[in-house]
């Protein structure tokens, strides 16, 4: 919401406060000032240099200040032709001190060219030589300083300004024509210098989306007096109550409807002061009647709607007009004042007469009864609507407006009467219309003002400050709460403009927030908690997963984090699923489902970095598995499962190339296996087995393995299947992938113990056996370990040989064995173990000792 300071000053004395002081107070109290735009008033000295005199800077600031001496109110006395240019004119202008000749091309005074001395001088905003204003002809806002120059042979040094040149609006079609009462010679900044606060209005501050609301807050925050406008006017003619009746069919949707009548209006532009304020507030002036409805809305917070009374009367066959509010029928049609025919549904509420719909309640008026240049008599509506209903309707028809913005956040029904009266008053003032006596007021559902009990104990318990009953009453009274003392504290009644105060425990929180705001959040001390400590539970799952992350980083892998949202097509490069958790409102088809494959996520990242010399990365996160609904429970679709996965991917060069490393092999299966082994040993798994598998569709059937811990499958790894790899734009090098189910892995996570370091030296021995190619190495090692028993501390494969010496279909595996026992082992003891091992290898695996 854009709020001109000059308007605020109508209702509160702001002397002694700078614009920034005001903005700071409002911001801390919950009306966040997002930007200050100066339109005349002096800017703080830091604004230009980006520095506050105190070295601090508080608000995003823009705009322009008007030099007191150089920019003043002046009057045009005559519009004379330019000797050398048909479309330019020369103004005979008096600036309060002397006469000036000012050159202009303004179209809005062009018609006065050559008409001689004006009967009534025209008041304008005059910028003298040397003043700094915006360049009216430049794109955007460019500052310029007026200098003496000759234009078509006539000297020019000063200017009658447009709104753009003074930073009021984008308007540059003509010069500003001030109201007749503008005092000639007065510095323009004193006459109409302004600054606009752009305030973000959060939902529970909707009551303050108007000048009166902000003024009320400011009065409470400063302890100054709130000067409410005097809404009084003369009435004449027949009372509206005799001419119009109202029928509200659904009070829940329409708690109040108020109508006033004004006759014989003359439609014309509003006074310049009003137009300027509306423009600063972001609303385009239309004419005095429409402007009055908008002005009254910004002023008091009640959106108004003006009907052409004569149109309604003729629809009623010149009988009395009956206004009916009701829900629309599905498919009912109405052409709104933007000339769009809208098809309505039963959630929409309509304002109708006996002939049919006139407007969409609270959102937009109808075209037929709209105010036009020919309108003479006006019915002015001020109503209250159900905010949820208006919110739905505005959304459904995509009609955001100043009115629907307010109605969809809640406008108190008490404002309907105030709003209509204020609107009638302004219309009469600006259009010469005559207000009919009385108002038609249907008020079937009057909201109850909330009553809440609050005590110093409550304030202490929730805010942590000590306030007396009197102090609490003072803070709340400033915000117009009524306070009565009780035995415990206070019984407070919410003021009748507020819908956001509840009752009971909610009401207490609502009222305490008001106490805190009024007291000032910055005045509440900072304390350290003195409450008792909670039970210590920790989060073993999270802690274990962080340990996995650390291990993977120590193994040289970069963590990546991908979008959880993807598309089935993207994932189908790796794996095809029929069922997905699918978004009802995706932002793009590319991200319309929740991922099921973390492998697909990580391969996307590999592809993205395909040009890197070497890639080693991992991701940890959930995948989302849809769960079939159980029809027996009748509760509809169930929440999906979110199992947590770990995926590793590696590709590219094993070693980093450098000045002395000219080449490097690519990462292969065993590089990945090494990482997998180190990860699992880092997690202290001991009973790990690697089983060849050809059943993982995205892996090379001959280069993939299942990882089992205690016979439980915890993951798979291997080389990416060549057909899958072909679907990615990547380099030649093989891609190695590992995928783990972290939930399973975690559940088999072992405890472990630390063994003492032996004092006696180990005995080392090598052994090489020749056996059939088909026998996996893991089987050989397992048999050696089993046979060696406790004395055999370590077994390490150090050579694999195939060739003539061992014969076709055979391989030689060479192991180095480490014996370790409590006392020094003799050669004979070692030889005995070795003999046992050899014998079992021979018997069970058909191995032959290689000499």
């Amino acid at each position: 919401m854009k709020l001109p300071i000059s308007w605020l000053k109508d209702y509160i004395d702001l002397d002694g406060l700078t614009v920034e002081d005001i903005a700071r107070k409002l911001t801390l109290a919950g009306l966040e000032v997002e930007e200050i735009k100066y339109a005349g008033l002096p800017m703080p000295d830091h604004a230009g240099s980006g520095m506050h005199s105190s070295g601090r800077h508080e608000f995003k600031t823009s705009g322009i200040s008007w030099d007191r001496d150089k920019i003043v109110v002046a009057e045009i006395r005559e519009v004379m032709p330019h000797p050398n240019a048909d479309r330019l004119t020369l103004l005979d202008l008096y600036d309060g001190q002397q006469n000036q000749v000012v050159l202009t091309g303004a179209p809005n005074i062009f018609h006065l060219k050559g008409t001689g001395k004006l009967a009534k001088p025209i008041k304008v905003a005059y910028a003298k030589e040397g003043s700094t204003i915006y360049d009216g002809h430049a794109e955007g806002l460019v500052l310029t300083t007026l200098k003496r120059a000759k234009i078509r042979g006539v000297e020019s040094y000063s200017m009658a300004c447009s709104e753009k040149e003074l930073g009021i609006s984008e308007e540059h079609e003509g010069i500003i024509i001030l109201d007749d009462d503008a005092p000639v010679g007065m510095p323009l900044v004193d006459y109409m210098g302004d600054a606009v606060l752009d305030i973000a209005v959060v939902p529970n501050m909707a009551r303050n989306a108007n000048v009166m609301g902000v003024a009320r807050e400011l009065a409470a925050l400063t302890g100054r007096e709130l000067k409410k406008p005097v809404i009084e006017y003369r009435t004449e003619g027949e009372s509206v109550e005799n001419l119009v009746s109202i029928e509200i069919t659904e009070p829940e949707l329409n708690p109040r409807f108020v109508i006033g009548l004004i006759r014989d209006v003359e439609i014309k532009p509003s006074p310049y002061k009003i137009q300027r304020r509306l423009r600063l507030a972001g609303i385009r002036p239309i004419n005095n009647v429409v402007d009055a409805t908008n002005y009254a809305m910004l002023d008091q917070g009640e959106p108004l709607h003006a009907f052409d009374y004569d149109v309604l009367k003729s629809r009623a066959g010149n009988k009395n007009v009956k206004i009916i509010t009701r829900s629309a029928k599905d498919g009912e049609k109405l052409t709104t004042l933007d000339d769009v025919e809208r098809t309505l549904s039963s959630t929409n509420v309509l304002v109708c007469d006996e002939k049919g719909p006139l407007s969409i309640a609270g959102v937009m008026g109808g075209a037929e009864s709209e105010v036009t240049d020919k309108t003479k008599n006006i019915l002015l509506e001020g109503a209250a609507w159900n905010f949820i209903n208006i919110r739905k309707t505005a959304k459904q028809h995509n009609l955001p407006s100043e009115a629907s913005f307010r109605f969809s956040r809640g406008v108190h029904p008490s404002l309907a009467e105030t709003g209509v009266k204020r609107g009638l008053q302004l219309m009469a003032e600006w259009s010469g219309g005559k207000i009919a006596p009385g108002l038609v007021d249907a008020y079937p559902l009057k909201p109850k003002d909330s009553v809440v009990d609050v005590s110093p104990r409550d304030v202490k318990r929730l805010l942590g400050i000590d306030l007396t009953v009197e102090q609490i009453a003072e803070l709340l009274t400033r915000l117009e709460f009524k306070c009565e003392p009780t035995a415990r504290g206070l019984r407070v009644t919410a003021p009748s403009h507020r819908l956001d105060i509840g009752e009971g425990v909610i009401g207490l929180a609502d009222v305490l927030e008001e106490v805190a705001r009024s007291y000032g959040y910055d005045n509440i001390p900072e304390t350290r908690m003195s409450d008792s400590l909670p039970p210590q539970i920790g989060n073993p799952i999270y802690e274990w997963e962080e340990r996995v992350r650390d291990l993977l980083v120590s193994l040289g892998l970069q963590e990546v984090v991908s979008y959880r949202l993807t598309s089935p097509e993207r994932e189908s490069r790796v794996v095809k699923y029929d069922e997905y958790v699918t978004l009802a409102n995706p932002i793009t088809p590319e991200r319309r489902v929740m991922r099921r494959s973390l492998v697909a996520s990580v391969l996307d990242a590999v592809e993205k970095n395909a040009r890197a010399e070497s890639i080693a990365m991992f991701e940890i996160g959930p995948v989302f598995e849809p769960v079939k609904s159980d029809p027996s429970t009748g509760s509809g679709q169930a929440l999906p499962n979110e199992p947590r996965k770990l995926v590793l991917a590696m590709t590219g060069l094993r070693d980093a190339l450098a000045w002395d490393v000219k080449e490097s092999p690519n990462f292969d299966f065993y590089d990945m296996k090494g990482r997998v082994e180190l990860l699992l040993s880092g997690l202290h798994f001991t009973d790990v087995s690697y089983i060849p598998t050809d059943s993982v569709p995205y892996l090379h059937p001959g280069k993939s393995a299942e990882v089992r811990v205690n016979e439980k499958v915890v993951g798979v790894f291997g080389e990416l299947h060549p057909l899958v790899k072909d679907k990615y734009e990547v380099e030649e090098a093989p891609i190695l992938v590992a995928e783990f189910d972290l939930d399973v892995l975690r559940t088999v996570s072992p405890s472990y113990e630390i063994k003492p370091v032996p004092d006696v030296p180990p005995v080392f021995e090598d052994i090489a056996v020749v056996l059939d190619e088909s026998i996996p190495a893991s089987k050989v090692e397992a048999l050696i370990r089993q046979t060696g028993g406790r004395a055999l501390a370590n077994v390490k494969l150090f050579d694999v040989y195939r060739g003539e010496q061992v014969g076709a279909g055979k391989k030689s595996l060479a192991y180095s064995l480490t014996y370790q026992s409590d006392k020094t082992m003799t050669d004979a003891e070692a030889a005995a173990i070795r003999r046992k091992i050899v014998r079992r290898l021979e018997h069970e695996l058909g191995a032959r000792l290689r000499s």
Binding site: E526, S562, L583
Partner: protein
């Protein structure tokens, strides 16, 4: 004989002068101190000398032997030092050549920042609580005091999941980690429903918003929330705890400011700003010339939320806050495009 000894000594010492390498030195030792050297011959011939001559010559021979030996040792040391000096010189490297690279791994910047935040909170007594990413409307909104069609819902645009038969309680991607507040309170309250224990938890995790993906807005982001519930928890405690946190996170002298704000699940609500750590409050592009950075939203837990969590709002109170680790990183490192975070470009990730 004594003259001969003097001659032996003189010749030997002279020839030692010119020796510069280990092999020559060994040859010299054999020639002058070896078994068949002239000096040793003298010792061998001692027996043939007269009783009178024997002690004099013997003593002289011993003196020469000692002299030659010590000269040899000295020479040997010198040769060794020269050889070492030479080899040191020869072994000299171009130390300006690049060192050998080791492939290192790193945590994703978001994980790093989450850890920074959670580590500080852990020291302040907050335990980590995690919960699911896909939620029901009930837990994500209704139990947190966002009624259906309430304008507060406009503050968080939501991704809904296609699901049959759930019109009253749709499935959605959580828009904040706050559903964890409900889960946690209910778990804690179940421990002792009559007198539930106090809570101090940090809730990290991925959240989702229905937004266009642009440099400024993302469809997914991490959040860390904090939740405190107890019988003696005040707004002053909220201010104290969060200012303490800010000083740990942004520097010992970080200044904070609390502005009134609105969130449906807290009341009173506030936004905490931290004085811009880029310009020190003087105004810069990072703080958009305001001198302050919006760091988190917070407030006293709304009585309805306490009630929904199983805590009686007339006996318990609490506070909660939420903040974004990616936003903190963007401010701290002046990252101007939020899309980097899930873009997984190694050239971005490797800078952290």
């Amino acid at each position: 004989m004594l003259d001969k000894l003097n001659e032996i000594e003189k010749t030997a010492l002279e020839s030692l002068q010119s020796i510069t390498d280990q092999a020559a030195l060994e040859a010299w030792r054999v020639a002058n101190l070896g078994r068949s050297s002239p000096l040793m011959q003298v010792f061998t011939g001692l027996g043939k000398l007269s009783k009178e001559e024997r002690p004099t010559v013997g003593a002289a021979a011993n003196r020469v032997k000692t002299a030659l030996e010590s000269a040899w040792e000295e020479r040997a040391q010198a040769i060794k030092e020269a050889a070492l000096a030479k080899s040191l010189e020869e072994e000299a490297l171009d130390v300006t050549l690049p060192g050998r690279a080791v492939r290192v791994g790193r945590l994703h910047p978001s994980t790093q920042q989450l850890r920074r935040v959670l580590d500080i909170l852990a020291e302040m007594g907050f335990q980590v609580y995690t919960s699911r990413e896909i939620e029901t409307d009930e837990v994500n909104y209704q139990l947190l005091n966002f009624p259906p069609d309430h304008p507060a819902r406009d503050m968080q645009d939501t991704f809904f999941v296609r699901a049959e038969g759930r019109e009253d309680n749709p499935i959605l991607l959580r828009t904040h980690t706050s559903p964890g507040q409900i889960h946690a309170m209910r778990e804690y309250a179940a421990m002792n429903p009559e007198n539930p224990p106090p809570i101090r938890i940090a809730l990290p995790g991925m959240c989702f918003r229905f937004e266009q993906i642009t440099a400024r807005s993302e469809i997914q982001f991490n959040q860390v929330e904090g939740l405190v519930v107890g019988k003696n928890i005040t707004f002053a405690d909220l201010k104290g705890t969060l200012s303490d946190f800010a000083r740990r996170m942004f520097g010992r002298h970080a200044r904070t400011r609390f502005r009134a704000s609105y969130f449906p699940f807290t009341e009173p609500s506030a936004e905490m700003d931290v004085e811009c750590f880029v310009c020190g409050g003087k105004g810069c592009s990072v703080c958009k010339n305001s001198g302050w950075l919006e760091i988190l939203g917070c407030g006293m837990v709304h009585p309805i939320v306490l009630q929904n969590g199983g805590y009686d709002p007339t006996r318990y109170s609490g506070y909660a806050w939420g903040m974004g680790p990616e936003r903190q990183l963007m401010l701290r490192y002046r990252i101007d495009d939020i899309r980097y975070f899930w873009g997984n470009d190694l050239r971005f990730l490797e800078q952290f």
